[in-house]
C-alpha cells in the first residue's frame, strides 16, 4: 500500500513538473528565430555562417545574449537588403559559459563546420585567449565586441614591444590599456581623488585593468594606498575590505565583473567604508546596481564608446533592436556587437561573391577586414595594424537614482 501511494505521488509530481517545464519554455521561443531572414528571391543561394561565442548561461548571460541578438539583428538586416548577392547569412550561437575550456570547445565545433566564415565574440578576455588559436588555425575571422585585454592584439609586451599575435583577430571595443588610464585621469583630474585602493580578481581582464590604472594614477601624482585581490568564487570580502580601509583611501578601483563588484560594494558600505567604487566596462550593467543595492549611489564605471542612448548614430540601432522584439535587452555590448557583425558583413561583401564555398572565402575575408571602414552605431569603425579599433572614445558612468548615468565622454589621447 505504502509503495503504491509513493508511486502515485511520484507520478503526480512528475506530471506536474513536465506540465510546468512546458509552460516555462513557451515564453523563451518567440525571439530566437531571428537568424533566418529573407534569402532573396530566385536562383540558388549559398549559406555562410557567422558564429557567435558568448556566455549564454550563468552570471554573465545578460551580456552574452545582448551580443547574440545584436549580431542576429545585423545579419537579419543584411539578408533582407540582399547585401551579398547569391548568399544567405546565418547566425550560429554557441555558449561559452564565460569559461575558457568551454569556449575552446565551442570554437572547435564552429571551426570544424565548413559553412562558418567568421565569428563574433567572445565576451571575456580569458575566453578570447583560449579561442584565438583555434579560430586562427582554421583561418576564421574573429571580431570581439568586448575583449578589452590589450595582449589579445598586441602580445604579452603590449606596452613596450607590441606585436600582433593572431592576424585573424580584430575587435571593435577599446582596451584596458586605455580604459584603466582613462579611469585614472577621471578620478584624479575630474573627481580630485588622490588616495586610492585597488582590488582585482586575478583574471586576465581584472588584473590588466588594475595594472594599467595604477601605472597612470601614480604617474599623475596619486597614491595607491592598498592593493588587494579576491577570489571570484568568494562571497565574503570583509577581511579585504577592512585591510583596504586601513589605508584610508578616498575611492576603491576594482578590476573585474559585476557578480563580484556588486557584493563588494554592498559589503564595503555596510562595513562603514563609505567611498565610491569604480570599475571597468565589466561592471557597467544594471545587474551591478541590483547586486550592490541602494548604497551604490555614486559608484563609477568606465565603458567603451559614447553612451548608446546619446549617440545619433546609435539611435537607429536602438530603434531597430526594439522593433525586432528580441526577448533580452542589448546591454552594454549591443552596439559594439552590431558593429562587429557589420564589419564582418562589410568584409564578406568583398570576399564572398568570388568564392565557391564559405570555407574558400575565409582567407579573403580576413584580408578584406584590414581595409574595412564605415560609420557604425558606435562611431567610425576601422582597424589599425594590430586589429584594434582606431576610434578610442570612452565614457565614465555614475550610479544616480538607481541607474547608470553618463558623466563624462572623451576621446582618449596618449
Amino acid at each position: 500500500m505504502a509503495k503504491n501511494r509513493i508511486l502515485v505521488a511520484g507520478a503526480t509530481l512528475l506530471a506536474a513538473a513536465m506540465a510546468l517545464t512546458a509552460c516555462g519554455t513557451r515564453a523563451e521561443e518567440g525571439g530566437g528565430g531571428a537568424e533566418g531572414g529573407a534569402g532573396g528571391g530566385g536562383g540558388e543561394t549559398k549559406t555562410a555562417v557567422i558564429g557567435v561565442v558568448a556566455p549564454l548561461s550563468g552570471d554573465l548571460a545578460p551580456l552574452g545574449l545582448g551580443i547574440q541578438h545584436s549580431v542576429e539583428l545585423a545579419v537579419q538586416q543584411a539578408n533582407e537588403s540582399g547585401a551579398i548577392p547569391g548568399w544567405t547569412l546565418e547566425v550560429q550561437p554557441e555558449d561559452d559559459q564565460a569559461t575558457p575550456d568551454v569556449g575552446r570547445n565551442a570554437a572547435t565545433s564552429l571551426s570544424s563546420d565548413a559553412d562558418v566564415v567568421a565569428m563574433v565574440g567572445p565576451l571575456n578576455s580569458s575566453v578570447g585567449q583560449a579561442v584565438q588559436p583555434v579560430f586562427d588555425a582554421a583561418g576564421i575571422l574573429q571580431v570581439s565586441p568586448a575583449n578589452t585585454n590589450p595582449s589579445l592584439t598586441r602580445g604579452a609586451n603590449f606596452d613596450t614591444a607590441p606585436e600582433r599575435t593572431y592576424p585573424t583577430y580584430f575587435r571593435t571595443c577599446t582596451t584596458d590599456s586605455i580604459q584603466g588610464p582613462f579611469a585614472a585621469r577621471y578620478l584624479y583630474e575630474t573627481a580630485g581623488i588622490t588616495r586610492i585602493a585597488t582590488v582585482h580578481d586575478k583574471k586576465a581582464y581584472g588584473q590588466g585593468l588594475v595594472e594599467a590604472f595604477s601605472a597612470e594614477f601614480e604617474e599623475l601624482g596619486g597614491e595607491i594606498v592598498a592593493a588587494e585581490t579576491i577570489n571570484p568564487e568568494d562571497d565574503n570580502f570583509s577581511a579585504v575590505i577592512t585591510s583596504v580601509g586601513s589605508g584610508d583611501p578616498e575611492a576603491l578601483y576594482y578590476g573585474g565583473e559585476y557578480p563580484q563588484s556588486g557584493p563588494l560594494s554592498q559589503q564595503m558600505k555596510a562595513a562603514g567604508l563609505d567611498i565610491p567604487l569604480m570599475g571597468g566596462d565589466g561592471m557597467y550593467s544594471p545587474e551591478y546596481i541590483e547586486l550592490a543595492g541602494e548604497q551604490s549611489e555614486g559608484d563609477l564605471a568606465t565603458s567603451v564608446g559614447a553612451p548608446v542612448e546619446d549617440l545619433p548614430s546609435a539611435q537607429q540601432f536602438v530603434t531597430d533592436y526594439e522593433a525586432a522584439g528580441f526577448p533580452d535587452p542589448y546591454e552594454a555590448y549591443g552596439a559594439y556587437s552590431y558593429d562587429a557583425a557589420q564589419a564582418v558583413i562589410e568584409a564578406l561583401k568583398v570576399s564572398l561573391p568570388e568564392a565557391e564555398t564559405a570555407e574558400d572565402a575565409r582567407e579573403a575575408t580576413v584580408e578584406a577586414m584590414a581595409s574595412v571602414s564605415f560609420e557604425g552605431a558606435t562611431g567610425p569603425v576601422a582597424f589599425d595594424e594590430f586589429g584594434d579599433n582606431t576610434t578610442r572614445i570612452l565614457t565614465a558612468y555614475k550610479v544616480e537614482g538607481g541607474a547608470w548615468v553618463a558623466d563624462q565622454t572623451d576621446e582618449f589621447e596618449d
Binding site: C23, N236, A239, T242, A270
Partner: protein, 330 residues
C-alpha cells in the same frame, strides 16, 4: 598595527567562522552516526536560504520587512531544509545503507548537483506556473528566477545596519550570525545530552546494532540527525542572506566544502569540534588576509593558508583539534 584593525578583523573572522560552524555541525552529526560524508549538505544550506526567500514572498507578500518576519522566515527556511534533507535521506541514502561506502559518497555528489540545478531551473517556474494554473496571468506571488542571484529581503534593524565601538564596526547581520551560532550550540548541547532522543543519538553513534537491540529505532535516529543538521544549515542560509543581501544557487558548494573542512579540522563526529573548527577556519582565513604581507599574503592566498593548517592538524593530530568521536567499525 593598531588594535582597532586587529579587533575589526577578529570580528570579521568570527562572523565568517560562525557561518562555517553552523553548516559544519550538519556534516559532523550525520558522519558521527552513519559515517557518511554528506556532500549535499552545502546544498541544504542553499535550499534553506531560498526557502526563507520563498516564505517571505508568500507570507510577507514580498514587502513586509518588519523584524517579526525574521522568525517567520526562519520557520519556513528550517521547514524547507529539513524536508529536503529527509527526502534525500529516505530516497537516496537509505536504500544504500548496506552498500559499500563509496556508493553513498558518489550519490551525495550527485544529489548536490541535482539540487543546484533544480533550484536554478525551477525555483521561479514551478511556483509561478502553479499559480498561473490557478489565478491566470495575474499571479499574486511572483517568484524570482534563480538563474541570476535573487535579492534577499532586507529586514529592518538587521540588514545593513551597524554601530561602531572603539573604531570597530559591528554589523547587525554579523551579530545575528554569531548569536544564532551560540543559541544553536546551546540548544544542540541540551538536545543531545538532556533528551531521550539525544541520548539515543549518542548510543546509535557508538554502536547502532546494540542500540537497535536496546529498542532504539535507528532509522528514526538517523532521520533526526539529518533534520538537526538541516535546521542549523537553514539558520546559516538566512544569516548568509542577511549579510550578503543576495543569494544564489551555487552558494552551497564552496560554503559546504569549507564547512566540511571545518568539521574535519575540529574532529569529525564531534559537535563541539565542528563549532571550534568553523571558528578557527574563519579566523585563519581572515587573519591570513590581514597580516601575511607580500606575494604569499592577501586574500588570494587565504585558502592556501587555511588548507595548510588543515594538513598540519591532520599530520600532527589526525583526530582533529577536539578529537573525533567516531567508533571505527570498518
Amino acid at each position: 598595527m593598531d588594535p582597532a584593525y586587529f579587533f575589526q578583523q577578529l570580528v570579521n573572522g568570527l562572523t565568517l567562522g560562525s557561518l562555517f560552524a553552523l553548516i559544519a555541525v550538519g556534516y559532523t552529526v550525520v558522519y558521527g552516526i552513519i559515517q557518511l560524508i554528506n556532500f549535499a549538505h552545502g546544498e541544504i544550506f542553499m535550499v534553506g536560504a531560498f526557502g526563507a526567500l520563498g516564505t517571505w514572498i508568500i507570507l510577507g507578500r514580498a514587502e513586509i520587512t518588519a523584524w517579526w518576519m525574521l522568525p517567520v522566515m526562519l520557520v519556513g527556511a528550517v521547514g524547507v531544509s529539513v524536508l529536503t534533507a529527509l527526502l534525500m535521506e529516505r530516497f537516496a541514502y537509505r536504500p544504500l545503507r548496506r552498500a559499500p561506502r563509496l556508493a553513498p559518497l558518489i550519490t551525495a555528489i550527485g544529489i548536490s548537483v541535482f539540487l543546484q540545478e533544480f533550484v536554478r531551473l525551477f525555483y521561479g517556474p514551478i511556483p509561478n506556473g502553479l499559480q498561473r494554473l490557478v489565478f491566470g496571468d495575474d499571479i499574486p506571488f511572483e517568484f524570482p528566477d534563480a538563474k541570476a542571484a535573487p535579492v534577499f529581503p532586507a529586514i529592518e534593524g538587521v540588514s545593513g545596519g551597524s554601530f561602531v565601538i572603539g573604531g570597530v564596526t559591528l554589523q547587525y547581520a554579523a551579530i545575528f550570525t554569531v548569536v544564532a551560532l551560540v543559541l544553536c550550540w546551546i540548544g544542540l548541547y541540551l538536545f543531545v545530552n538532556r533528551t531521550r532522543v539525544g541520548r539515543a543519538m549518542q548510543a546509535t553513534a557508538q554502536d547502532p546494532d546494540t542500540a537497535r537491540l536496546m529498542g532504539i529505532d535507528v532509522d528514526r535516529i538517523i532521520m533526526v540527525a539529518f533534520a538537526v543538521g538541516a535546521s542549523l544549515a537553514a539558520v546559516a542560509g538566512i544569516a548568509h542572506g542577511l549579510q550578503y543581501t543576495n543569494i544564489e544557487f551555487r552558494m552551497g558548494f564552496l560554503a559546504g566544502l569549507k564547512a566540511f573542512t571545518a568539521a574535519v579540522l575540529g574532529g569529525i563526529g564531534n559537535i563541539n569540534g565542528a563549532v571550534v573548527g568553523g571558528l578557527v577556519l574563519g579566523l585563519v582565513e581572515v587573519m591570513a588576509t590581514a597580516y601575511i604581507p607580500g606575494t604569499f599574503g592577501g586574500s588570494a592566498w587565504k585558502d592556501v593558508w587555511a588548507f595548510a593548517l588543515l594538513i598540519l592538524v591532520l599530520v600532527f593530530r589526525p583526530q582533529g583539534l577536539l578529537g573525533a568521536r567516531v567508533v571505527d567499525r570498518a
